[in-house]
């Protein structure tokens, strides 16, 4: 059993469906791999600073995993027209956290601040990371969720991170073979934007709760 908190901006006009499907894909994997885990779904209604500021202090004395599926900027995660996690405002709340952010740009500043503020580890993108639509949406979500799933399966964070990059490369080659150079170039960009900060040696065993 482990403690998962998944923020997903399902009401987002352009990417709500993508974020919701990403969350569902991850929860499906959690339920299969480590049943009885605690999974707290933080949908758009609760993706706000007030919720984060009140809720996170109630859980951060123990190790937990926080996953974000929403828009992002260099120093913040955003939903509902505002930020809900921001470098200089509430990133210090995420002590004892493995923070997995599938948002654009947050690897530039927010990820570094989280690691500096005693989050165990951050994985995210330090550039714009396009999402693929239509028939390649599942491929895109598989790429995004690859490392967190590997981590859940028992690999260290660095092993999970490296296998995520390898999987991105396989997806790039797949799309290129399918005659989709623009989509392949988008995934190449996402792959090279991946960053990992903090302790890379942790495994899911360190996050088990009684």
């Amino acid at each position: 059993m482990a403690n998962f908190h998944i923020a997903f901006d399902h009401n987002n006009v352009t990417l709500g469906l993508y974020f919701e499907k990403s969350k569902a894909d991850l929860i499906n994997h959690i339920n299969h791999a480590i049943p009885l885990s605690v999974v707290n779904e933080i949908n758009s209604d609760r993706c706000n600073q007030a919720y984060i500021d009140i809720f996170i202090p109630t859980i951060n004395l123990s190790n937990f995993i926080f996953v974000a599926y929403s828009h992002g900027l260099e120093n913040k995660l955003t939903a509902n027209g505002g930020s809900y996690i921001e470098s200089d405002i509430n990133s210090n709340l995420f002590t004892n956290c493995f923070f997995y952010s599938m948002s654009c740009l947050t690897g530039i500043d927010l990820g570094k601040k989280l690691a500096e503020n005693n989050s165990h580890t951050f994985i995210g993108y330090n550039d714009f990371a396009p999402a693929l639509l239509g028939k390649y949406m599942k491929l895109s979500i598989d790429c995004d969720n690859f490392a967190i799933k590997k981590f859940i399966d028992g690999y260290t964070i660095v092993e999970s991170f490296n296998s995520m990059k390898t999987n991105f490369t396989a997806a790039v080659d797949y799309l290129e073979n399918k005659g989709e150079p623009l989509l392949a170039s988008a995934l190449r960009k996402s792959r090279d934007a991946l960053v990992l900060y903090g302790d890379s040696s942790l495994t899911i065993a360190g996050f088990h709760i009684n």
Partner: protein, 205 residues
């Protein structure tokens, strides 16, 4: 037959002008267009931005028509990917200094004199056409043209800052050299380098 459109905007030559005859032999009659009114010429170029195009532009037009420099600037407001060759009877020193600066700063490809040999002008056009062929936007244009129109207009890729782009919009962004367009060009080059470095692609020859 080459697929580049050659648009000659000039009020002082005829359809039977030797330059047009030679260009039509090289590029096909349908691909060489003469516009004697500068406004019509500008409109034609702006209405056909999705095509590879080289413009041969006179500088001096009759009163009431936009000048060659105005046409040039009108094109550049919309795209930096149309090659423009200035073809004028004016001596370089007779051209207004500010006009000259505008043309140089906005990448006029060449200045040709109306006394230059046709061969020299055609050679410059061929060189411009070749450059268009090897540009990323041109390769993309060919690739995009293989898709059905409905697919070209549908959302194709979504930036996680919430902007979606169809294939047609991506091409337009590249042609206008917007930040997204330039980033897309760079990403395609980086993809090519990535695949070459991993041995997934080989350069012919």
């Amino acid at each position: 037959m080459k697929t580049t459109k050659i648009v000659v905007i000039h009020d002082d030559i005829l359809e039977k002008d030797p330059l047009l005859v030679v260009l039509r032999e090289e590029y096909g009659a349908d691909n060489v267009i003469l516009k004697k009114k500068s406004k019509e010429g500008l409109n034609y170029v702006l209405d056909n931005l999705s095509q590879k195009m080289v413009v041969i532009l006179d500088l001096n037009f009759k009163a009431g028509e936009p000048s060659g420099v105005q046409v040039f600037e009108g094109i550049r407001k919309q795209t930096s990917l149309v090659y423009v060759i200035i073809w004028t009877a004016s001596a370089l020193e007779d051209i207004n200094r500010e006009d000259l600066k505008s043309m140089i700063n906005n990448d006029a490809l060449a200045f040709m004199s109306s006394t230059d040999d046709i061969e020299k002008i055609v050679s410059k056009v061929n060189s411009a056409s070749h450059q268009l062929d090897i540009r990323i936007d041109s390769a993309l244009e060919q690739w995009i043209s293989l898709h059905p129109e409905s697919e070209k207009q549908s959302p194709y890729i979504l930036s996680r800052d919430g902007k979606s782009y169809s294939l047609n919009e991506i091409l337009q962004e590249i042609r206008l050299k917007t930040p997204f367009g330039m980033e897309t060009e760079k990403d395609i080059l980086l993809l090519a380098i990535d695949m070459l470095s991993r041995g997934k692609k080989k350069i012919d020859g």
